[in-house]
Symmetry: C2
Subunit: 412 residues, 2 copies
């Protein structure tokens, strides 16, 4: 991650870019009484790109948002609730998602087509529309230029902490700011095409003036290099959503493709997306370790990804990491059964820079040395297949008692 030219804003979030307001309120959807509804609002309608789950059982708000995004018109607001996913809820669920957009649009005095809807929480339960309706009222009246943090808190489910960031760059003499927030701690195994997977909700705001197609392309590339690189438990969600809104209020000359400015904006956007993606892994349910899996020199990108995801999702690898056990046999086995094609007699494995396997067999590094590496809070495992030219990187974590406890007990 090149940080050249990018300035981090402390305590920044989605209201850091100019022209954005937000709120996070209690609508009463969560039994715990914690905040469960957020609203993001740009008075100036914003160019908007989005990516959604590829799960066949896409939730109603995802189906609704896809329709809106397809119209390719500016978007002004996103209404978000936690506590109920509005997934597997049939026609009534679709009507409810549409109602959420209409109610929000009415109160903001805009067209329903300018409102996106997101939901996360329990699947298969109809939305309590009386609570939703009252909540939307509170969310609209609570809108504030300092509401970024509140909304980052309100979209949480099993997350232990809000995830937010903002950074700025200089474009044609103007300060352009990008802000972002995300939620997600379980059901995390992205794979979005410009469309994510996992109950991962992520929202990025920017005041940049930017070409619409360029924004789409940068979002697609950014998704692949951030959220599509993470996996917590291999489970994709029905509700995954990533939305980027660009309202152009920074007053910069419009950023065009293939310009120096496009490169700078791309790097800043990647910085924000990768920060949020890694924050989700670090806040994964019951997580004690952050593990980077690099697969180098595979015959194809598909082979590299199969291998990396297979290792990252292996329960035996994840529990070994939890135990601080270097058990590299499990890593090799996961690569071997991944379906990726490569020559096993050439494969070499490294924990950080320490050789573990050389050409398919034990490199002779003492187990104690390896144990010191995998007992760290964060480490990198590199598998060099030496069978081609394609490489990838995936970010994951361990699986602990706590993960099992959280998911055996979760009921919203």
């Amino acid at each position: 991650m090149k940080l050249k030219g990018i300035t981090a804003l402390s305590n920044g979030g989605i209201t850091s870019p100019s022209g954005f307001k937000s709120s996070g309120i209690c609508a009463g959807l969560k039994k715990s009484g914690k905040p469960d509804m957020a609203l993001v609002w740009s008075e100036t309608p914003a160019k908007t790109s989005a990516a959604f789950t590829s799960c066949l059982f896409a939730a109603a708000p995802v189906v609704y948002d896809r329709e809106i995004i397809r119209k390719n018109k500016p978007v002004s607001a996103i209404i978000i609730n936690s506590g109920n996913a509005n997934a597997c809820t049939g026609k009534k669920g679709m009507l409810n998602a549409r109602s959420m957009a209409c109610m929000t649009a009415d109160l903001l005095g805009i067209s329903p087509d300018a409102v996106l809807v997101s939901s996360t929480g329990r699947i298969g339960v109809q939305m309590p529309m009386d609570k939703i309706s009252a909540g939307i009222g509170k969310a609209v009246s609570g809108l504030s230029m300092n509401g970024g943090h509140e909304s980052a808190v309100a979209i949480m489910t099993t997350d232990t902490r809000p995830k937010e960031i903002a950074a700025s760059i200089r474009i044609s003499g103007k300060t352009v700011t990008i802000g972002g927030m995300a939620k997600g701690a379980g059901m995390i195994a992205p794979g979005m095409k410009t469309v994510p997977h996992a109950t991962m909700l992520s929202y990025v705001t920017t005041d940049a003036a930017i070409d619409s197609r360029l924004l789409d392309n940068l979002l697609a590339e950014g998704t692949d290099l951030s959220f599509n690189r993470i996996t917590v438990d291999g489970d994709m969600s029905t509700n995954d959503t990533l939305i980027v809104m660009a309202n152009g209020t920074a007053g910069n000359r419009t950023i065009k493709s293939n310009s120096k400015e496009a490169g700078l904006f791309r790097n800043a956007l990647l910085h924000v997306l990768q920060f949020l993606a890694k924050a989700i892994v670090l806040d994964g349910e019951g997580v004690t370790k952050f593990v980077t899996i690099k697969v180098l020199n595979a015959p194809s990108l598909k082979d590299a990804n199969l291998c990396a995801k297979s290792i990252a999702n292996s329960l035996l690898c994840k529990t070994a990491w939890f135990g601080g056990d270097p058990n590299w046999g499990r890593v090799m086995a996961a690569a071997g059964y991944s379906g990726a094609s490569f020559n096993p007699d050439k494969a070499s494995l490294y924990y950080e820079k320490t050789p573990v396997v050389r050409n398919g067999q034990d490199a002779g590094t003492p187990e104690k040395v390896l144990a010191l590496i995998v007992q760290k809070k964060s480490f990198t495992i590199t598998l060099d297949l030496k069978s081609g030219k394609h490489s990838t990187e995936v970010w994951t974590n361990d699986i602990s008692y706590e993960y099992v406890k959280i998911n055996a007990d979760y009921h919203t």
Copy 2:
């Protein structure tokens, strides 16, 4: 499972068929000092079919056995050790596997080509050949017609109990017996082609006289309908092996394809294989529940299998089952992201015979009713896709704190 014409033998195992001897001894490979070497022996060389892991990092004994099986000659013995997998051990590992066969052959006075080798345990460590050599001596001198149980104990790793069975049928006026034993509790996600996956070792003996090609075909079909239907943790092993030996000493008229006898033998073999496969799931590491996943009416068998395996391997489903939580949204999400193609608006879900989802949405059964079902020790989840004519069935289990504990701590 039709049991017509099949007689279960109480306390039966691999030495129940005539002409087989076995032993299980302590070679000192396990730190615990528990039995860790087994020998299976048929004085009359046996027609032998086998299936092995499809993991690219196949262990040395698997590579060795494949060579032997390819020669298509009768086999007399299988030497098996637990405590060390002899996987990712390079050329030295291959030499050691070959040495195990040669030493066993020498002591039994047979050709090395008539000996198969199996290993299970820690990956990446060279075999302690001094202990192996002494152990083979003990195993040969310990051979006994009553040694089936000892050998079933000696092949265990994290298994909590030995898995054995025997059954007999009548063929052309003679009693034909089939015996079997298996080990496996973790790293279980078969998918063998006539070649299993998972540190699953399974051995079947029979005194039947049977056509060689018929035996191969029945093993291939039987593997698909038993071990390839189970998954404990989605992790395949480097060492999975299933071997069937038929020594013909029952004196029956040779069983030929497309005969009534072939059907009877097939059912008895399936009975033995399915019993052993289910026993592995039931003895899965930390298992508290046995779950049958049926997927009906998929567009293709591939779609049906993708769906069923995706549900069976979903960590979120497995932890919900552990918690006795009917959370059917997780089941639908796992089907939805499986990659299987089907119409989500037609899909219906049942817990036992109780409707849960009808045409993609909540069937309205009270959660308390569903909770009573998933809180049972054993239950069936049926997903009817109504999108085709292909169906499948998978057997799996939950994931508990205990699974994490066992695999975080496992070091042989």
